[in-house]
Symmetry: D2
């Protein structure tokens, strides 16, 4: 399991305590607070703190766009307007902090989102846990033949068995050698009194990229939506999408109006270029436009047809 007994107990103690606050408070998110949602085989994500709610977005927008917005819009409509027109600063007024356990190769993708605050567990000072990500058989995808960045079919039979065995064996052996080089067990107890043990900051280099790490990750709602728009997308690698999907559920508990606007205007939206728009207008007059007569490249034509739900 992802959480140690000690961690699980800390979470329960934290969940038991409540205090009175004058701050904006969201009961639906309070109900989830501190609870670890399992992701992948040993990972998790949990909300450990938050600031603001749907009303805080509205409050910030109203100071920016003036008194008049009060009469003209109810809150939900104003939030949808802000999302549609990419008025992003009011969404920055909400902040959330997650505790995440994730494989190192996922952490390397994740950290590319720079506008966030991070404290990662340091293998320079501490010993990492003996936990590696091994894909479930249904996620053991082949390289896509048509698309360098996507996955193809799932591996099967002997090839799948061989891959799973290699991943398991190599990660385990490298971890065992990591401890041997450290001359320590997982709890930091010395193994052999006659040896010095390699420095932790060096020994960690023997670990594989599917080893789990963990961190606190804090960001504002605007930047979280940007993260989710890239990572909850079907083109994202499955392993990071699994985290994004879990986080999306938490965002829906936290700021339901903003989350719904995000689904409609960002996740489910499509941007058409000036050329695509011109094609679209011709099609709406009843003209039968083909790629050759469209002025679009083949790739753009394919993207347009996909967006319109056509075979192309």
């Amino acid at each position: 399991m992802a959480l140690t007994a000690e961690q699980q107990q800390e979470i329960e103690v934290a969940r038991d305590g409540t205090a009175a606050t004058r701050r904006p408070t969201v009961p639906a998110l309070e109900a989830l607070l501190f609870q670890a949602i399992p992701v992948l085989d040993h990972g998790f994500v949990r909300v450990v703190d938050y600031m603001g709610d749907d009303a805080a977005i509205v409050q910030a927008a109203r100071v920016s766009y003036g008194r008049g917005t009060r009469a003209a819009n109810e809150d939900r409509g104003l939030i949808r307007y802000l999302m549609r027109h990419r008025h992003s600063t009011p969404f920055e007024m909400c902040e959330i902090k997650f505790h995440v356990k994730l494989p190192i190769f996922v952490a390397r993708q994740w950290i590319r989102h720079r506008t966030a605050n991070v404290n990662e567990y340091s293998a320079r000072y501490s010993i990492l846990d003996r936990e590696f990500y091994i894909p479930a058989p249904e996620h053991l995808a082949a390289q896509s033949a048509v698309n360098r960045q996507g996955r193809g079919n799932v591996l099967e039979g002997a090839e799948a068995t061989r891959v799973l065995r290699l991943l398991q064996e190599d990660a385990t052996r490298n971890y065992d050698h990591y401890l041997e080089m450290l001359n320590e067990d997982e709890a930091g107890r010395k193994l052999d009194e006659t040896r010095s043990g390699l420095a932790r900051e060096l020994a960690r280099m023997n670990l594989t990229l599917n080893t789990y790490t963990q961190w606190y990750w804090k960001t504002d709602l605007h930047n979280l939506f940007h993260f989710l728009s890239l990572r909850a997308d079907p083109h994202a690698q499955y392993e990071i999408r699994a985290y994004a999907d879990a986080m999306m559920g938490m965002v829906e508990a936290w700021v339901p109006n903003a989350a719904a606007a995000f689904r409609d205007y960002r996740l489910g939206a499509v941007t058409f270029s000036a050329q695509m728009l011109a094609v679209l207008r011709r099609m709406l007059t009843g003209e039968a436009v083909a790629q050759e007569s469209s002025g679009l490249s083949k790739r753009e034509w394919r993207e347009l047809m996909e967006a319109l739900g056509r075979a192309g």
Copy 2:
């Protein structure tokens, strides 16, 4: 007064409401929450939301620096260690949101701190209030003769009277003309049915830089400390320092250990260059070092003497 009756009532309603939360909560800051602390003649600053506390800094540091820190340090010592060694990321785990009313020329200095979230009242959409900053007589400083960036003595007599009158008259006249050009009163009611009125986004250009604006400003504790280290400093312009001083009091209520460490290791600290350190070592052996024999420029020598509390 800085706050309208309507705003004052909203604050009281907000202060009356409390909710139960599982989040870290700081009673001393809760006691101050939403209350406007007056700054300058018509300005204020108030905390409208916060996330985290001293313990959140410690929690983040421990995930980064490992289990070992638990035994070795109690919380206060760990926070002081982090501050002393500029390990800044754990302080980023705390977040605070202020509502501020301030003159535009102060807002222009403030906004240079880029790592913050801001929603400012927009004179493009709304009519600004008839409020201008007029310095109190004791802050009516002359230009310093020795230091281009500092203030000299306080103006007195006829010169002071004249300055105060000019500031008051020019701001008032320009505001009156602003409304006239808008063809609106302060509440947005049309003045003269036969005129169109200039666009708000244009009319505002007639206002003076001491006109008040307001914004929500949200930042993390690390960046707030950076702001305070520059703006609560004696070299900062008095008008922004007045805000920084008020905010420092709020930080002390919020994160007392971090605030004390900040006072000791940042606000009250001095950095010595390699050359200054060499001079210091010579002085500590009993050698009588003078500027000429120090290897320091006159300006650096003066800075060193000041730091050591000597006449120079």
Copy 3:
């Protein structure tokens, strides 16, 4: 004129000097380098340095997306692909530095773009020039009656004359009083030996928001495109759009492929929400959809009709 004779001469000296470099160099931008393009009545914008070119974007994309991109795409197509799919990091590899002279109320909008480096002329240390923005008669717009954020018709006749006179008189009077309070002339010479003069950091508060300031502003191409997408947009205030339009011309000289892709996929593009897409698909089957049967709000329906070039 916006530039002093001294500045104009410095520019000519700078333009005369050339050096040999191994860096990527863009002759079309070199031809413009240092030259001030006039904007508004006393402002200008000029490029004072740059780094990278279209090829630098391609080079960065190829290290990220691998060797395969070399065969599959020629440069122009790759840049268009990156722009269409918002792969923004390769555009961050190009950097540009502008010197801009602009009214303070424009500077206040501009500075909200935080991901840039800025050094502004400081009225705390120096005396500002006697230059104010006064709109040309054709830009003297009335407040829009239908849209709080837009401009309406142009003011005419007596109202226009009155507005122009007020703007001119108030700015001039306030500037004269600024110098009087400083007890200095524009060149910093003392006026009256018997007076101290108010500190510069205080006297500036008497200036109006149409006074000109200047700064160096440096940003990367991705963030510049974000700036231009908001500020070269018809919804932007005319006064900042005038700067954005001038800068767009410089970007076209600098990175012609990226600039063309930006025009097609950002400036001229439209984003349709999930609901709009559903309506579009129904329309393409030949169904006559009206707002009432569309599931869209009136405002969204109007936005959709506009994008499709229909009356609505």
Copy 4:
């Protein structure tokens, strides 16, 4: 060797070409441009582009601090003043772009510096090279017994031999299995026509953290100095310090005045807390202060004695 023959030839072609530019140009850095400086066993760092020079810092400072600075300071003195007083924005006017080849565990430390632009070679799309960092025997440090974050003595004899063999064998085996799972050789040629091959984005998880990656990394001089102040420091891990030291040499060729000021006022400087300053003042009067009578904690006392070059 770190560079392939193909890369080496590209570098030579790039170095052969020169163009005329009006931009600030630094001959000493031009002489180094594109050349790869070897770091560790297979890594390198090279400058591929730059913007600005010492004079650009001065130019930006003068627009900020006004005309007066022209007379009062020559350039070198002004740069030293800016560095001493942490006026950081003028240093942001210079920009530099590096191409770096580095082990993944070093890249993970490096990326924590968020204010930079990065394009990394992606193992999602491309096959990584068969290159791993194996420490030289003199860098095979034991864990420090006194300081969790430092290294102790160098491992020797059988323990050293064993560690080097494990690192080499595990990295090699895992890389071989990586290719086997991919069903590709290093050049991307299919190995076995009967197998699909695992997706690249998955197979990479089997690699060890000492595998080399590469990236373009671009930042401004202020943020580069911040990076160097942390990573060229004796407390930094040796492997990242090796890169920082190589980069420091390039900075010295690029902006000699700024680099010297950085050495004096940042790398070689020490910050004393309010309490340390008080102790220092007592010592300068001749008082013999001991830790017990100092008011400092033992750790702070030790830090003070170290800074003063005393045994403590």
